[in-house]
């Protein structure tokens, strides 16, 4: 997947400035940076929940479709996990996971349910399948959201601050699922503030500030020897505690 010269403005605010980024198959890229640096926006442009004003986004060498069926098909191949989980509130946990396979992939209901149970087992919430999202804890909901995305058998998974809305003790259960996913070779783009996850699971760390990619490095050298002042400043603030 490649981004070339991507630009985006919100009115006068230049939220994405000349973004170039290439992510290869099986790679885990962690995007970090201060709030308002454009990292969530970047993540959301990849399945066109945000449009871009200039530049190209290529997936498997093909340009991102603008709208309609082609865009829907693209989104089906890109898994997305949101900060606020966004599980379908009126559907059970099982129905949340089977909706995509049944309606988009046209999978028979029984097969979709078998797949969903398998995935819910993998993320550790299989016993909650008949409940509604509001009856689950945040950590459980987020793991269901990951299962829902995986049910589409995506080529790449986008995580938009997946643990930012969670209590500390629930963060680990979600990160564990993500680490296992990374180990299985899933291509992942993860926007996060979890430096521990970046260190253990990332192949590459992308540091963003003020709408620009300031620095790109492997995690070890980024955390021990950041090059830019902006990154040094950021790491100094968050690693102090």
């Amino acid at each position: 997947m490649e981004l070339h010269g991507v630009q985006k403005w919100y009115g006068d605010l230049h939220v994405l400035q000349d973004i170039d980024l290439t992510v290869t198959r099986g790679e885990v890229v962690v995007v970090i940076g201060p709030s308002g640096s454009g990292k969530s926006t970047l993540c959301r442009t990849i399945n066109r929940l945000e449009t871009v004003d200039e530049g190209q986004i290529l997936v498997d060498g093909k340009e991102l479709p603008q709208e309609g069926k082609a865009l829907a098909a693209h989104r089906a191949d890109v898994g997305m996990v949101f900060q606020s989980f966004n599980l379908f509130a009126h559907k059970t946990i099982l129905e949340n996971v089977t909706l995509g396979p049944i309606k988009v992939r046209k999978m028979p209901k029984a097969d979709a349910e078998a797949l969903a149970k398998d995935l819910l087992e993998r993320v550790g919430v299989a016993h909650q399948a008949a409940k509604y999202p509001a009856q689950l804890s945040g950590g459980q909901q987020q793991r269901v959201a990951i299962a829902r995305a995986l049910a589409m058998e995506p080529k790449v998974m986008l995580f938009d601050e997946p643990t930012s809305a969670l209590d500390p003790e629930m963060i680990k259960e979600v990160l564990d699922v993500m680490v296992r996913l990374a180990q299985r070779g899933m291509t992942m783009i993860v926007v996060t503030h979890e430096m521990g996850f970046a260190r253990t699971a990332a192949n590459r760390v992308v540091f963003m500030a003020d709408g620009q990619i300031v620095e790109t490095a492997d995690p070890e050298s980024f955390f021990t020897n950041p090059q830019s002042d902006r990154a040094k400043d950021f790491l100094g603030k968050i690693l102090k505690h």
């Binding site: 399945n47 929940l49 709208e67 309609g68 069926k69 829907a72 098909a73 693209h74 989104r75 089906a76 191949d77 890109v78 898994g79 997305m80 949101f82 606020s84 966004n86 599980l87 379908f88 509130a89 009126h90 909706l99 995509g100 309606k103 988009v104 409940k131 509604y132 509001a134 009856q135 959201a145 829902r148 995305a149 589409m152």
Partner: protein, 229 residues
Amino acid sequence: MSLEAILDNLDEFFKAFGYTLFLFLVTAVASLILGTILVAMRVGPIAVLRVLGSVYVTLVRNTPLVLIFIFFHFAAPIIGINFKWVQVHIGTFDFTSAFATAFVALSLYTACFVCEGLRSGVNAVPMGQAEAARAIGLPFLGVMREVILPQAVRASVPPVASALIAMLKNTSVAGVFFLAEATATMRGLTNDYSSQRIGIFLCFAVGYIVLVEIVSMISLALERRWRIA
């Protein structure tokens, strides 16, 4: 107070409310369908349909219902739109041009309020629900049908029920336009039995109250049943 007028004309009394009820039921179905189509146009991605939807709602909602009745009774036939071909007879009920015209006028009018009630429900569904639905690859209609409308409908039960209750009482306008529904029949009886006006009036008032209460109770029951777990 004497109730002879009603007791001697019970069949007429019930038949009158029968027309009111029939008109209410068919109009409710039609305005719910049309209202759903309108709301899909208004919140949809196609700009032309969005504009058409808003123009329709603005135009029809801002027109007094009586004017819409007058249009279909007196203006529309001149440009070739009439309902004289409607001749349905069920039991002692005759559904003819007066009924069909009332049905069309009321449905077109009520659909606006249903649409706006549903739209308030759509607005109550968090943005993230639509984003998540799009993110798994559902097209617009799938997002609406599977995720947004089921939740929007729950949130819009009270405003849509209000629109339907208002419509139930608006069926009385059809009484002015040649349909022997409850209000027209009441006026006939108060003319024939002028000494019993208060009793006649109260009986018809109770008839309307009962019907409206039934609609309110159905609405409450739906609200409870569809409450999100």
